[in-house]
């Protein structure tokens, strides 16, 4: 199933990306090579030999919306930009995106030649008599294949993010695995598993109730409920490792593992700390209002997950996948 979902994500991404780029090209969404009449406002327009001047590209919201055939721009456009002109009053311009930049230009800048910067040609410029402003005709650099460029960038970025996440785990993993090992040797984990045996026996009938896996499952769930994600992940991975020791078919998920993941992804929690922090940051008058609703929703999700895992594991197709294939036992052991 993960095979199909994974492939679905990738295929859909590529199809939609190509589709959007073709649509953009056909509709000329970014008005490539189309001249745009703007007012250039500057206190230091070039007089004589000066060739470089800073100022603002000015457009009313209506002009901007009409040009791109959109309706999203509500305020007049005042984009700071730098012009470089030559003698015959043509030249080029460049601007970096700031918070005043219209959304469409920001999107265009994402896949422009310079990151977050848009450039273009100045076709014609006519200065006013008092040199405070100029009428200019500009053409922005052509923007093409926005989505395909974004997909390429995302593929590389996220591959790096994955490695960063894994590297970030090394320290806390080592810390918690060390502490858990001490707790195991001291017999603390056994006490914990005995205490909760009546419940864990039902959830994980395949696992002996005093097995170290059960201890790690309990500690992981407790850490998740308290919102201690730094401690929860190492304990969860420890639990997976212990569960895997009882796995008859290495490389295939066991029933116990899936039940454990159902508890984990259900998101059972007592304090939704991150959501509450964001609520406080955006000015909520009652940040704790979501504690009850979150506990209820997460509880429903977790119970559904456990029940679903218990029902689905009885289906013949999932049962079959766990039966050990005696013909070629070596093949699966390589991982």
């Amino acid at each position: 199933m993960l095979n199909y979902i994974w492939l679905f994500l990738i295929v859909i991404a590529l199809v939609v990306g190509v589709g959007k780029d073709i649509t953009d090209e056909v509709r000329n969404t970014y008005r490539n090579d189309t001249p745009l009449e703007v007012i250039f406002i500057s206190s230091q327009l070039p007089s004589g030999t000066a060739t470089r001047c800073e100022g603002q590209i000015y457009l009313t919201a209506k002009q901007y919306n009409d040009f791109y055939a959109i309706s999203s721009q509500l305020e007049e456009v005042k984009q700071p930009a730098v012009l470089s002109l030559n003698q015959n009053k043509t030249g080029s311009f460049i601007f970096a995106c700031t918070e005043v930049t219209p959304t469409l230009w920001k999107d265009m800048a994402q896949s422009a030649s310079g990151k977050d910067k848009l450039t273009g040609k100045v076709e014609r410029i006519e200065f006013s008599d008092d040199h405070g402003w100029a009428k200019a005709t500009i053409i922005l650099e052509p923007i093409r294949y926005v989505k395909l460029k974004a997909i390429t960038q995302a593929a590389i970025d996220f591959a790096n993010v994955a490695v960063e996440i894994a590297f970030g785990l090394i320290g806390v993993m080592a810390l918690w695995l060390g502490l858990i090992k001490v707790a195991e040797e001291a017999g603390l984990v056994k006490i914990l598993t005995k205490l909760l045996a009546p419940m864990t026996k039902r959830l994980f009938p395949d696992i002996p109730s005093d097995h170290p896996a059960i201890g790690a499952v309990i500690m992981n769930t407790a850490a998740n409920m308290l919102g201690l994600s730094n401690a929860a992940t190492p304990m969860g991975l420890k639990a997976m490792e212990e569960l895997n020791k009882l796995n008859p078919k290495i490389g295939t998920a066991t029933n116990a593992m899936i039940t454990f993941l159902a508890i984990n992804t259900g998101g059972i929690i007592l304090i939704p700390a991150t959501a509450m922090a964001v609520r406080a940051a955006v000015g909520s008058t009652n940040i704790g209002i979501i504690i009850g609703t979150s506990i209820f929703a997460a509880g429903c999700a977790t119970i559904t997950g456990i029940v679903a895992s218990k029902i689905l594991q009885r289906l013949p197709r999932y049962k079959r996948e766990l039966t050990v294939d005696t013909k070629k036992p070596e093949e699966m052991n390589h991982g």
Partner: protein, 182 residues
């Protein structure tokens, strides 16, 4: 009542790790475990476990990453939006519900945006933060947990995770409508 609960849980969360360190090591010392050596022995596995998940995490995050970058999410949302009325869910919160199992940072951004636009204490704001607070990034957990033990055949783990997420969405909409219904 909710405030008291919050204070107590917060207090436990802050105390939990120092108490665990003290308890584990103290108990170990009391039981004559050679704590330093055993700690190091256990910690050794940390590196390998973390490194083992890299290929799984790369596969998962890159697929989700290009899915988000391509704008495919918008297409999916426009396809599903007509169905939100059936469960009484505001269409604005649909991106939140769909993004939550895929990406933690993506859904965090959507939740923040929704609360800024609609107000954190509006129905949409409360529902968005409940959806975020009550769920985990299912696909991330699948990749990391199964990756750490080299599980490639996940059997029914994905349907189970998605069913749980769907139930969580229904439950969040249900409880928020009852308590803060518009």
């Amino acid at each position: 009542m909710a405030d008291l609960f919050r204070t107590v849980i917060n207090f436990i969360s802050i105390l939990a790790i120092p108490v665990m360190i003290a308890l584990f090591l103290g108990w170990g010392f009391f039981k004559k475990v050679r704590v330093y050596e055993v700690f190091v022995e256990g910690a050794k596995d940390g590196f390998h476990t973390a490194i083992r998940i890299i290929p799984y995490l790369v596969a998962m995050l890159f697929a989700i990453g290009i899915f988000r970058a391509s704008g495919a999410m918008d297409v999916l949302i426009s396809l599903i939006t007509p169905l939100t009325n059936l469960i009484g869910m505001p269409p604005d919160t649909l991106p939140m519900a769909l993004m939550r199992p895929l990406s933690g940072s993506g859904s965090l951004g959507i939740m923040t945006e929704l609360m800024k636009v609609h107000g954190p204490d509006s129905f949409i704001g409360v529902l968005a933060s409940t959806l975020y607070g009550s769920s985990e990034t299912t696909f991330y957990i699948l990749a990391v947990y199964f990756g750490s033990v080299n599980i490639k055949n996940t059997r029914h783990a994905v349907p189970v995770g998605l069913l749980a997420d769907f139930a969580g969405i229904l439950a969040a909409v249900f409880i928020c409508r009852i308590l803060f219904g518009k």
